[in-house]
Amino acid sequence: MSFVILVLLLPLLAALIVVVGRPRSLDQRAKIGALPIIAAFFVAVVTLVLVSSQGPISLRFYEPRSPANLALPIGVYVDRLSAVMMTLITAVGTIIYLYSTGYMYQDRGYRRYLGLIAFTTFVLLCMVSSANLMMLFVFWQILSWLLFLLAHNHAHAATLQGACKTFTLLRVGDAAFLAGIVLAHALYGTVEFQELFARAAATPVVLSPLPGLEISGATAVTLLIFGGAMSKSAQFPMHIWLPSSLYAPTPIHALLHAGIINAGGFLLNRLAPLYGLSPATLHVVFVVGMLTAVLGASMMLVQNDIKKTLGFSTIGQMGYMIMECGLGAFALAVFHLIAHGLFKATVFLNCGNVIHKVRQEPVSPHAHHAVEEHELPRLTWATGFLTTLLLPLVILLVTHGVLRIPLLDSQGTVIFLFFIWITSSQAILTLTRLRAVASWKVSVAMLLTLLFVVFTYLFAAEAFTHFLYPDPREVASYFRTAALPGRLFDGLVVGTTLLTTLGWVYLYAQAHGRTVRMPVWVQALRVRLYVLFMNRLYVDVLHDRLGRWIMRLAHGLDKHSLGRSR
């Protein structure tokens, strides 16, 4: 089973092939460098098949009980989660590497860039196959530094500033992660995953950090580690590094949005048994995820730059992914991150072409596409109504009655259904709005497509949950721990449904020239919110002010102390 090491080492070999050698052979080396990454993908697929049939692979190059080698305990633990992530990373890494050999051809930083892509793939693979929490943390930090280098251009001031902000914020997350590991080790005496889970479950500890405040050991550890996940997965308010890093070359974003940013979701999944012990943490995770999803999507709507739009879209999606973890739907979060990763990689790899094309053809979309029909035919309206209001009921009934998925016990699945409904309805209604075709064929085709998409998604998600977490009791226990009070959850779902539907009605009316009377205060609020979201809630400004305040404090102290610098 030691061949699994090859998956990790092959991208490293690719990085060495690209970096070591003379400049004149660089093109050849760049092409040869693709081979080990492609090979890593195939080995990852074989590993996935083997792990699925024969169970996890574990290789340790250290003695867990010896304190003498705790600082860098290297080992590999590949279960189904790791194997899936390894396959995803090598697949995306291969595509991005191959794309980059053409996209970055003859760029001054070609060698550095390709070397970094291959090395980042290696680090990501090591991170997802870590045998223990310490090794995961080691590669987690190296990833922070690589992100700084990837989002970096020596000679461009704005890029440098963005890269600096990226590293600073990622290090804040790293510090929280470090504190979590230290606390976990102090409370449970181990950083080995399985032992840690077993001890945390077997010996509940209550901490009292402040008089009158009591917190369980598992909650404290998971909250701190969640700080790390928040920074890597760009959760509010630590999301500001992502838009700042958008000056980097386009393929970097494909890798970032398809691989690196998913680290938070992976971390929560890897530590799911620990998170499953703390309802409080899962509720915090849910709230942070929900806030990020709402704010990320809202900020996305007011961007006027394709990359920033995609960047904020990713923030929103990551919020959704984290929210799923907060609802105990850990496997769904992985499913989501894979789907989103592949989709976003494709979009980012293509967005450079779109920008290029728009620069060549300033009238885009083409004139004959731009003419919209201003009337909303009844049939189209009826299709929209069915899609938005009646179809969810059908889906719920089928899911609950036919597929026998216990919706009442799994809020995560409800949220997933909700997500499927909103996104697919939105997509189809947007198409309807654009073309406004009043045809039975089109309407029926759309409804059927929507149903097909929803049920395929649902089936795939259920199958994937069973694949990642074969024991249904484990899945059920996560759902139970994460469950919000029933009325609160129902209120959230109903409230969001109403808001979404009202939003659609309003948008349709606006799009078709109908007058919607709004109170003055709502109009004023709209303008204020627009400005607020356009300025990204001023979180960047607050971050900068905090930095300046610390620097003023430092300079004040330096000025008034002995031995001041001159």
């Binding site: 304190p67 003498a68 080698n69 705790l70 600082a71 860098l72 310490m134 080691v138 930090q141 190296i142 530094w145 700084f148 970096h152 020596h154 000679a155 001031a157 440098l160 600096c164 590293f167 600073t168 290090r171 804040v172 790293d174 510090a175 470090l178 504190a179 590991i181 230290v182 606390l183 080790h185 102090a186 409370l187 005496g189 950083v191 500890v205 209550v206 901490l207 009292s208 950090p209 009591e214 610390i550 620097m551 404090l553 430092a554 300079h555 102290l557 330096d558 102390s561 002995l562 031995g563 001041r564 610098s565 001159r566």
Partner: protein, 430 residues
């Protein structure tokens, strides 16, 4: 007897080498080769005579630092005094680690006096901190005399004060800052290793005999030092002062740990050694810049990544090691300390983690200022020479090895006081 001799041998080699170096004083290249040979001979004798087992690491770092700091030096007559002083300080330092109480005190007195003389001699070069440094090391000499003459609790406190001057702890850190920021040539790079090693060695000896009140106050001083060092490092625009204050912050963390846990695990040696070596590396790299452009402010130069790629890569790796990123020794030592069972869990950990986090900030700022941005077209750029490259590369490799080597290599070898309260553990735990 033979064991005692074996510990003294490296010190004797260095001191004899320093004296005989005057024989080739008029030929800088020959003098440089001689000092390199003496450093290697000290290291070899230390390793061979002490055995390659645990406990040799900290004394061995001294000749290693001496060798590497001398290796990258240009053979110029202005540097000769610094080279001889390096050997002299090396001999005294090795003597301090080898000697017993009385001998150690005398050698330390000589060493501090020599530092006072050096700071006074090179006062024109020193931009700041000079008089505080001279005063502090002068006070150190008085403390050593007190430690020799006074009865038990006072002598322990006086010895501890000297340790705090060497392994810097606020408020007696000024000598360390002055030595790193004010001395010429390779001396700051060498002293960055020598002073903390001697301070740590002294701390191991003096810790069991400290009065309870002093033990209680030390963790607080450690925390204050960590915050103070961090804020001062953030405000510096000169790299040597920045590194000195960064080290004040890092070593204050160690003071806090040792005083709170009341034990000195092997990881502490690793931590001290790697923080010191990373600083040595950064000071050497900066020396290469000073040799080309003079002692300048960080605001006066930028964009070196493109015209000086070898310098940029090595400087970046050393800065990464210094800020505590894996897989270098500083990270291994820091995590090793925090993952020992003796770690006292308290709110102070928040300060420690924040100090660690802030290091990313000021070291990243240093990298941004020095390496990135558009380079100045009015300067002539010349990348690292072979010897400079070799010295920095070796330092990076050593830091890497320290980050991945098994921790038993770093056993201090000196009797360690047993943990008295820390094993009881979790103050938070209800």
């Amino acid at each position: 007897m033979a064991e005692g001799m074996s510990l003294w041998m490296p010190a004797a080699i260095s001191l004899a080498g320093a004296v005989s170096g005057f024989a080739v004083w008029s030929r800088p290249m020959a003098l440089k080769m001689w000092t390199l040979a003496v450093s290697l001979a000290s290291l070899a004798s230390l390793v061979v005579l002490s055995g390659a087992g645990g406990g040799v690491l900290l004394p061995a770092l001294l000749p290693i630092a001496s060798f590497l700091s001398l290796l990258g030096q240009p053979p110029h007559e202005d540097n000769r005094a610094a080279w001889i002083m390096t050997l002299l300080l090396l001999g005294l330092g090795l003597g301090v680690t080898a000697g017993r109480d009385g001998e150690r005190m005398i050698l330390l007195t000589l060493l501090l006096s020599l530092l006072v003389a050096l700071l006074y001699r090179y006062r024109a070069l020193s931009v700041s901190h000079l008089w505080q440094g001279i005063g502090m090391y002068g006070l150190g000499v008085v403390c050593l005399a007190t430690a020799l003459a006074a009865p038990a609790p006072v002598s322990a406190a006086a010895a501890l004060a000297v340790c705090a001057m060497l392994l810097p702890l606020a408020p007696v850190h000024a000598g360390y800052v002055a030595a790193l920021a004010g001395l010429p040539g390779n001396l700051p790079a060498f002293l960055a290793c020598l002073l903390p090693a001697l301070g740590f060695h002294g701390l191991l000896v003096v810790l069991p005999s400290l009065p309870e009140t002093v033990r209680t106050a030390l963790p607080l001083l450690g925390l204050v030092g960590a915050i103070y060092g961090t804020l001062k490092a953030l405000a510096q625009s000169r790299i040597r002062a920045l590194l000195a204050y960064a080290n004040l912050s890092f070593f204050s963390i160690l003071w806090w740990y040792v005083a709170s846990a009341r034990t000195v695990p092997p990881q502490a040696t690793l931590y001290i050694g790697s923080v010191s070596l990373a600083t040595t590396g950064l000071l050497l790299a900066w020396y290469a810049m000073r040799a080309r452009y003079g002692d300048m402010d960080l605001r006066a130069i930028r964009g070196l990544a493109h015209p000086m790629p070898r310098f940029a890569v090595l400087f970046m790796l050393l800065a990464l090691a210094a800020l505590g990123l894996p897989p270098f020794g500083v990270f291994a030592g820091f995590m090793g300390l925090l993952l020992t069972p003796a770690l006292p869990l308290s709110g102070a950990l928040v300060v420690i983690v924040l100090a660690w986090l802030a290091a990313s900030w000021y070291f990243l700022d240093l990298l941004q200022r020095l390496l990135f941005g558009r380079h100045r077209p009015d300067l002539r750029y010349e990348d690292l020479h072979r010897t400079e490259l070799a010295a920095l590369l070796m330092l990076v490799i050593i830091l890497l090895v320290m980050g991945v080597a098994p921790t038993r290599v770093f056993e201090p070898g000196t009797p360690v006081p047993r943990p008295s309260v820390a094993a009881g553990g979790l103050a938070w735990n209800k």
